[in-house]
Structure formats: structure tokens, C-alpha cells
Amino acid sequence: MKTNIIKNTLFISALAFLFSCGQAGDRGGNGALSSNIAEKVYVAPGERDEQYAFLSGGYSGNLTVYGLPSGRLFKEIPVFSQFPTSGYGYSEETKPMLNTSFGFIPWDDLHHPDISQTNGELDGRWIFANGNNTPRIARISLTTFETEEIIEVPNSAGNHSSSFITENTEYVVAGTRFSVPVPQKDMPISEYKANFKGALTFIAVDQEHGHLDIKFQLLMPGFNYDLSHPGRGKSHGWFFFSTYNTEEANSLLEVNASQNDKDFIAAINWKKIEEYVNNGGGTKMPAKYAHNVYDESTHTATSTMKNEVLTVNPADVPGAIYFLPTPKSPHGCDVDPSGQYIIGSGKLSANITVHSFDKMLAAIDAEKFDGDAYGIPIINYDDVLAGSVQSGGLGPLHTEFDGKGNAYTTFFISSEVVKWKLGTWEVVDRKPTYYSVGHLMIPGGNSRKPHGKYLVAMNKITKDRYLPTGPEMEHSAQIYDISGEKMELLYDFPTHGEPHYAAGCDADLLVNNSKKIYRIDENNHPYAIKSPAEARVERDGKEVHIYMSTIRSHFTPDNIEGIKVGDKVYFHITNHEQDFDVPHGFSMIGQRTSEILVMPGQTKTSLWEPERVGVWPFYCTDFCSALHQEMQGYIRVSPANSNIELSYTLDGDDI
């Protein structure tokens, strides 16, 4: 019967298409056409979406998980920001995740998620993301959907051309937006030119655990490094970075960084540099940066401060770095699934510039150079150019691919997505976005094998798309069906924070790996208790450690006396549930932190420093069960000099 429905709708849509006169994108109802579109995004109650979409939260510091094609929000994953909803960055176990060389930083600006790959195809192990402001790279597990690791990037500032991965996840790459003095020093800003450096950082990924380690930093000329993408297939082993401000201006960049007719895409042969480094090349430089790792078995993060980084001077590795001239302050720097084309979108250009990897290699062989910049050869523009897309749009930014020979580029100023053909450069379709689109995302569109059925356009300006909510509107995203020759606008949904960029994949890649519970018998948290019978309270000077259990629907213990003003009280809460989707929460009146949410089988710690004498309640914040409202307890706080004995009970009895 379903087949019939599909056939019928196809027939109806064909009819509608015949009758329509290019009204797609109109906001009004379109009869049969509209109902057909509705069916394409309708995921019936109890049914599931085809694909995951991980949208960056931008200045929220978080990553949001949506379903495609429904646009339903499934989860917000805290990455660089404290998150009271789970207690991330508030619990004692997760505070170290937000540690940096500047100390504890409760926030960052998350921009570019990228899913791990094997042989250039998405493998669904991890998703990486960059923090722009205080440069950091995060690794998020795609089994627990939790942030497992954050590494700070030294010598970097405005960590924007990040966090893109090579095609076997050998490296996650982070390029600096701002060039800065390396190492930092007190000097006049006006002496920027020729003195500041732009660090491109290659962070090695341990294949078993995903652990991150800075392999080397390439100290490039003091340009702004904007975006980057790895070579793939034939160009695997290279990495491409767009640059702007090759003028090396340090003020009013909107004018002074727009002087040169062409800036560069930097082509980096990282395999060559890797070999150089493996043979003892590079210079170790003192640097201070935090490396924070969350251990799933102890449910605890540790932060280690590193004090050295290996730097590479481009001049020391001849033949590894070239500049490809690209008009006009290129922003997006995208590589097609075959690895042949490198696409640079000059934000001030009307056209899209496409470079050829083959031509680049030939030009390097024949030394067709047009001078150099700080010793780095500049390849003749005409000798590397594959073609130019005469788009008719304004402000091209980013390009993704469908794996069928088509490319899709967003245009910020003309608010549209333009579909064009690789190789012929002809524009085959264009559809408006609402409004001022930044990135776009095709699931897998940043790999050798796109999962291309939908395209998500992420917009910067919302205006009138939704019911107004005061001066600030959430950003908007639009979903297009790209399975046909023409794109079709399907749906429009608000996003949280700034949906700067996104990564997506088929649901099948992740569904069966998603963790349901943590086994209590595998819990190696030092303050875990294996059963409620082990619950206890221990005093160590002014420190009080409460080993507390939760199981529907009570805390063990739930009455505690002998706590004193000035104590540091640690609630180590083990959730003894072994049942999917049954966390318990914990919150204490007057506690200067957020609640925490403890997953089944997990232990988490919340710190409370009681300041007032009295009897103070705590309760479970997660609606866990029919008797959730009964899940509560009391703590008696006595004066600092009191001699009330420590005691703890459940139902009036000792435990």
C-alpha cells in the first residue's frame, strides 16, 4: 500500500510540476505540491528520521543533534560551555574539561563539526569540533554523545580554519584566523607585518581511543587562515587552507584586507612535513596548553598542562608548501569527492574559483611560479585554474557535493544556494534561502562518498520566518531535497545558537552504536559504590564525602546530620539504575553550582559548601518515576563548633 501511496504522490507531483510555473519557495499553500512536500519531511509519531545532522551551536559553545528530514531537535551536546541541563562543566568530574592555559573558561564559540573518516568515508566513531575564541579542538564520542577530549591549541588565535580531518582521521587540523606574535610578546601592533605568524596545527589522532596529540605546528606567514579541507582520493596527503589579509593589515580589515586582487589558497603537503618531522625535523618551542581527557570508565576528566610544541618553519621543508592565487579574500575552501577540484569562494567575488589538483602538480613539476611570498612559491594562476563558475550570485561562501558530479555553493549576499556541475562549471539550478546563508551541509558532503539526499542551508538572518520573539530570533535552517535535477525546498526550522556549520550522516551509521547504559560493574570511579548497601558518609577534616546511591525512587542515605558550616561537602552520587533513559538528578538548596544529571551506572560529584545553619533539603531534578516527587532528603547543618556526630540514615535506620 505504501508503494501505491508513493506512486500516487509521484504522479501527483509530476502533474503539479507540469502545472506549476516556478513557484517553489513560495510561502503560501500550493495544493498538491505542498502536500507532497509535507509528506517528504513528515516523520510519523514513533517513526525515525533517515539521517542525523550535527549542527554547531556557534556562540552557545555546544553541538546540537537534529533529525533529517524532520528537523526535530534530539539533543544538545555540551562541548565548550557549561551546561546546567546535564551539569557538564559544573560537576567535579567535568570541570577539568574546560580548563585551559588561561584557567577555567566556561564558554567558547563552536564552529565546524567534522565526523571521523576511514578511507575517505564517514565511519561514525567521533565528531570533532573547534572552539574559536580560546583555541581548542574537541572530540565527541558518537556512542555516548559526550565530549571526551579537548586540546588547547597554542600559538593560535581565532581557531577558525578547523577542525577538519584527513581521510583516515590521521589528523584533525586547526588553522589560526588571527596571526599573532609567536611566541607571544609585548610589541607594537603596527609592527605586525612580517613579524606575526599564522600557525597551522596538525593534531594526530590515536586510532584506538581517538586521543589527540599535537604532532607539529607549521608557522606560516602572518595572513588570516580562514577555512580548510583535506585532499581526498588522489590528493590525499595534501591539505588546503584559504587565506585573506595577505596584505597583513592590522586595522580596519574590511578595507585594508580587501586591497589585493587575489589572496591565496595554501596547499600543504602534510605527508612530506610528517616525514620531515618523523626524521627529527622541526624545532621544539616552549608553549603552554591544556589537554583534557574524559575517561568513560572512571566517568572523570583529567586536565594536563603541556609545555612544549614542535614547530616547523616552511623554509625548512622545500617542496611542501605552495600558494594558489585565488580572488578575492576566499572564505570557503572545499575539495570535491574525487579530490581533483579545490574550490575557493572569494567572498567579494561574484564567481567561484576552481583549482585543479592535477594542474597544480604539473605546475609544481614545471616550476610555473609567479614569484613567492616569504619564500613560499606562488603558482601561476592560469596554470592551476580548472575553471570558474559564472554564478550570477553575490558573496559565495561554501561548497558541498552530492557525489553525482554536482556542487552546491551558498551565496551570503544574494541569499541563495546555487547548484553547478563539476567540470563544465555550468549553473543548473538556484534556490533562495531565508536569509543570508552561511554554511550548507550535505550529509557526508565533506567526504569521498556523500550521503546526498538532503541539503541543509544554515542562515544568519531570520527576520520574519517565525513568530517574533523580541529583538533576537533564533537562526534559521532550510532543508532542500537534492535527489532530483532541481533542488526543492522542503522545510524550514529554527536552530539553537549559531548553526555555523554542520556534519551529517545516515542514521544507520550510528543507531546501533548508541550507548544505552553504563554497566555498574564497569564503573571505576574512585568514589563509586557498587550497591546502595555501600552508601556512607566520611569526614576528613573539613571535607565530607557522601557516597550516595540513587535508585527509583530514593536517595541512600536521605537524612544526614553532623555537617557543619564551613565544610566542603562532596556528594558522590552513583546511579544504580541499569535501565536505558533513566537518569537521576541532584540539586541542593543554595548550592553555588548547577544540578547534575547522573546516567544509569554512572557516578558524578557535586560540591556544596554550606554557609547557613539549618535543615536543608535536596531533591532529584529528573522526573525519574511515578514517585519522583518523593525522591528527596534533608541535611542538618550545625554551627562550625558544634559537636553533633556524623550520622546518615534511610527510613530511620543506619545503612
Binding site: 510519523a44 509519531p45 514513533g46 517513526e47 525515525r48 544505552k516 547504559i517 535508585i551 527509583r552 525512587s553 539504575e577 541499569q578 535501565d579 536505558f580 533513566v582 544509569p600 525519574c624 518515576s625 511515578a626 514517585l627 527510613d651 535506620d653
Partner: protein, 190 residues
């Protein structure tokens, strides 16, 4: 055992399909159930989860001595209650306990027109909250009666090592993910 539970669940879904006489649409996340538009609303009972500890329904289904109880739960269409977040303490009579009822009682209760009576009788064996043996002993010691899901109060008595509820002796206890099952030797009738 997990495989067995799954098989039983599949069987249960199939049974529910065959027995249902009240066609109703319900979205379900499991593939088995998504074809079962004729099923009575199974709700959470249709969630497929091979990782979590088994819930009360799954434990009961996997226990041969409770096949009569399970059949009753299914006939009364209250499966979803036993997989709910609860927590619940279920006093589960073994098959022999049902066999000991006056002749014809069980057959009568299993008739569709007596569904509600059957549901009431079974629900009378469930207490909101999780009471393990120690908790039940505390009930007896502190003179508290056990509040059952039907609103009845049952007395908990302790005789040496034996604990009885509503006059039915507990002969075994199984922890479930959403509560506790105490196996009892007789049906607790009003």
C-alpha cells in the same frame, strides 16, 4: 537468556496481534510493532532493548512458572504498566497458585468481557515503590501496611525467615530494572 526474552517479546507482539479485537493505530519504534497496526496499544512494552537489565514484564515472560500470570497480563492488556518507569513491586503468583483457584475461576477471568476484573485482580499484586525483602521486613517491623496499586492495603508478616504479603508467602525474589518481583505461592484475593 536475553535472546529468549527477545523471542518471547516477539511472540508476545504476535499474540497481541492475533488476540486483539480493538483495532487502533499506534506509533511504535520497534520494527515488529510498526507492522502491527491492529495491536492494542502496547506502548513502552514494544521498546526493543537488549542492553538494559530486564524489566518486570521481561522477567515474567522469561519465567516458565509464571506463564499463567503472563497470559493474564496479556489478556488484561496491562503489559505497559509492567515496563513503566515505576517503580513497582510485583507479587507474582506461580502457575500452581492459579491452578489452586476454584475450578472455572481462571477461565472465566480470561474471557474478554471480564478484562477489567482480571486487570483489577492482577493490579492488586503490584505496589508502587520498590520494596526488597529488607524493605518488606521494615514494613512489618514498623507496623506499616503495603499500599497496593488498586488502593488496597496489605499486611506484611514475618515468621522466622519467611515473609508473607496479604497471606501469600514469598518464595523467591528477582530484581528487575524497574522494580522488584517477589514470587508468591498463592493468588492474593480480596
Amino acid at each position: 537468556m536475553k535472546v529468549k526474552i527477545l523471542n518471547s517479546l516477539t511472540l508476545l507482539v504476535l499474540c497481541a496481534l492475533i488476540w486483539s479485537c480493538n483495532p487502533q493505530k499506534e506509533g511504535d519504534s520497534s520494527s515488529e510493532a510498526s507492522t502491527g497496526t491492529d495491536s492494542h496499544p502496547m506502548g513502552q512494552a514494544s521498546v526493543v532493548d537488549e542492553v538494559s537489565d530486564p524489566n518486570i514484564l521481561q522477567v515474567a515472560i522469561s519465567s516458565e512458572p509464571h506463564s499463567t500470570l503472563v497470559a493474564g497480563v496479556q489478556a488484561a492488556e496491562i503489559e505497559h504498566v509492567l515496563v513503566n518507569a515505576g517503580p513497582l513491586t510485583v507479587f507474582a503468583p506461580v502457575n500452581a497458585a492459579f491452578d489452586a483457584l476454584p475450578e472455572g475461576t481462571l477461565e472465566n477471568l480470561l474471557k474478554p468481557e471480564n478484562k477489567e476484573d482480571l486487570a483489577t485482580i492482577i493490579t492488586r499484586h503490584a505496589a508502587p515503590g520498590s520494596y526488597d525483602i529488607d524493605a518488606l521486613k521494615r514494613e512489618a517491623k514498623k507496623g506499616r501496611k503495603l499500599y497496593m496499586a488498586t488502593g488496597d492495603y496489605l499486611e506484611v508478616t514475618v515468621d522466622g525467615d519467611d515473609v508473607s504479603v496479604g497471606g501469600a508467602k514469598i518464595v523467591g525474589t528477582v530484581a528487575a530494572s524497574n522494580g522488584i518481583i517477589h514470587v508468591i505461592e498463592k493468588v492474593i484475593l480480596p
